[in-house]
């Protein structure tokens, strides 16, 4: 009855209506910002009086925006590599290991996900001020790595738990060294887990605002920090252009993940 779509009767349309409105509520602001980034109005009047590319020109003409985007990408790339490597090794330990306190350790590894980021940001800021890592790429990478690593461990332990270890043992039986078996049999089999670990780690760092606000210095800032600082002054449409570029990158990465999942299934 209530769980059968075709037999809901009039209620069906209420549910569909609410769902449609909610979907619109979620998607329209994103569409709206993308549309405004091509609008000519400085004051973001909608519908725009005319269409233009000048906000994109302003974005690409300003070295500070490009530099911030470059920094973001550079930091996110390093975070991705480290997060996958450390996450992979730790996941082997968590899934294959046998030691006291393993479950506690697993829970500990996920805590950065649930604690308020602002607490970590303030704590790391204090620590980095003392050891001189504030406003450095290293500082950014460490801060982002702490929040990216849980995503990595979660994805890779999931993949590793779904992998039948006897296949690896079979390779060893056929003469492969244990390391060779891991590199040529196990890693390719869990590549989907490694891939989603990489995507989540990248996006976590690329999108991260709160830690970045505290880690940034006048000479080193990521794209979100630049957007944040600009937003506090005015709502210039250049932000809309920058935001649209971010949305395009997000959609591209999401499609990549979806395609890869489809490829794995078939």
């Amino acid at each position: 009855m209530l769980l059968n779509f075709d037999r809901l009767g009039g209620w069906k349309w209420i549910l569909v209506g609410i769902t449609g409105l909610t979907a619109a509520f979620l998607v329209l602001p994103i569409v709206f910002i993308a549309a405004l980034s091509f609008g000519s109005s400085q004051w973001l009047i909608f519908p725009p009086p005319a269409w233009t590319l000048k906000w994109y020109e302003a974005f690409f003409a300003d070295p500070r925006w490009l530099e911030a985007a470059g920094t973001s990408f550079y930091i996110a790339a390093i975070v991705t590599v480290l997060s996958v490597l450390i996450g992979l090794v730790a996941s082997f330990g968590l899934v294959r290991g046998r030691f006291i306190g393993k479950e506690g350790l697993r829970a500990l590894f996920l805590t950065p996900m649930i604690l308020p980021v602002v607490v970590l940001a303030v704590a790391l800021y204090a620590f980095f001020l003392r050891i001189g890592l504030n406003g450095t790429v290293t500082g950014f990478v460490i801060a982002h790595l702490v929040v990216a690593l849980p995503f990595s461990i979660l994805s890779i332990t999931n993949a590793l738990e779904g992998f039948d270890k006897s296949i690896e043992d079979a390779a060893v039986l056929c003469g492969a060294s244990p390391l060779e078996a891991k590199l040529r049999i196990t890693l390719p089999s869990i590549s989907h887990g490694l891939f989603s670990a990489a995507v989540f780690s990248f996006l976590t760092s690329w999108d991260e605002v709160v830690l970045a606000i505290f880690m940034a210095s006048p000479t080193l800032q990521t794209l979100p920090v630049k957007i944040w600082a600009t937003l506090r002054q005015d709502l210039t449409p250049v932000i809309a252009a920058a935001s649209t570029l971010l949305i395009v990158i997000t959609i591209a990465l999401m499609l990549l993940v979806a395609l890869l999942r489809k490829g794995l299934k078939s």
Binding site: M1, L2, L3, F5, F32, V89, F214, L235
Partner: protein, 291 residues
């Protein structure tokens, strides 16, 4: 076979060795990272709350004894509670619909949910700042329809924060609730109908009670995430309704008062952990897909 599986640590040189350390070393890099750059800095921040400017509980007395700060605590809780209620009220019907809709319809909604979740937080907040401003689309439309004559103040106040936070939290309640409703056996509701329950009775006495664990757990998660939110309240809220995360940032950044900053951080941390403990106690697992 013992030779084929890795080194069998239980029998090395014929002696029985405790198995406690097998593969533990692999987790050491991650553990070191967390201890040095997460646990120790947070503990040291909390320690500063009782050591600076002088040892004692002075910071906590100042924090909990002042009406200004109490107002911020109260505001943090009431905004989070409001956001939780609104997301739950919208999220339940949407999750319900998603669980029973034909998959070609629901996959569109899922794509939208994921897109919204993974769109940059600042982008989403910026969108609402633009939409809600005095000359924004919403005010323009309402005035165009003749519903209001003056633009409504929708931003830098409670309305702005609630809309912005609801926007961000909706996917976090819809996705877990969808999972819960999906697992309910439709036959139970058929049985209710056969026994003569009206639709309304089936909803309030069967479906909602069965979905309650999912609702409580989702609501707790949204509430906890809202408590610690920084960016959206800072940009969409006004100075009159500051939230706890902003207060912590302000203590540290503008006032350089580490003692008070640490004390406020401890309050936030304790409340967060206590609510997660309740969640674990009630449901066994904490949902941790938060950002």
């Amino acid at each position: 076979m013992a030779l084929l599986t890795e080194r069998d640590n239980t029998t090395v040189m014929g002696k029985i060795r405790p198995v406690r350390s097998r593969n533990f070393a692999l987790t050491v890099p991650a553990l070191l990272l967390l201890v040095v750059f997460f646990i120790l800095p947070v503990l040291s921040l909390l320690l500063r709350s009782v050591l600076e400017p002088e040892p004692g509980l002075g910071n906590y007395q100042a924090l909990l004894g002042s009406t200004t700060y109490l107002k911020i605590f109260l505001n943090t809780f009431s905004v989070s509670a409001l956001v939780t209620v609104v997301t739950l009220a919208i999220g339940f019907p949407v999750a319900w619909a998603l669980a029973i809709m034909p998959s070609r319809l629901s996959s569109i909604v899922f794509a939208i949910l994921l897109l919204s979740m993974w769109t940059n937080l600042l982008t989403r907040t910026y969108a609402w700042m633009v939409l809600l401003q005095r000359t924004g689309v919403i005010n323009k439309t309402l005035m165009g329809l003749g519903l209001i004559s003056e633009p409504l103040p929708l931003v830098n106040n409670l309305v702005g924060v609630t809309i912005g936070m609801t926007y961000i939290m909706l996917p976090f309640i819809i996705l877990p609730l969808y999972g819960v409703i999906r697992k309910i056996d439709p036959a139970i509701l058929q049985a209710a109908a056969l026994c003569g329950a009206t639709r309304w009775q089936a909803l309030t006495r069967v479906l909602i009670p069965l979905a309650t664990p999912g609702m409580v757990s989702g609501a707790l998660m949204v509430f906890v995430m809202s408590l610690g939110y920084f960016v959206t309240p800072a940009l969409l809220g006004g100075t009159a309704n500051m939230m706890l995360a902003e207060l912590i940032a302000q203590f540290v950044q503008s006032l350089v008062n580490w003692g008070m900053g640490g004390a406020a951080a401890l309050v936030l941390l304790v409340v967060t952990l206590a609510l997660y403990a309740i969640q674990l106690r009630l449901f066994g697992t904490a949902r941790m897909e938060g950002r």
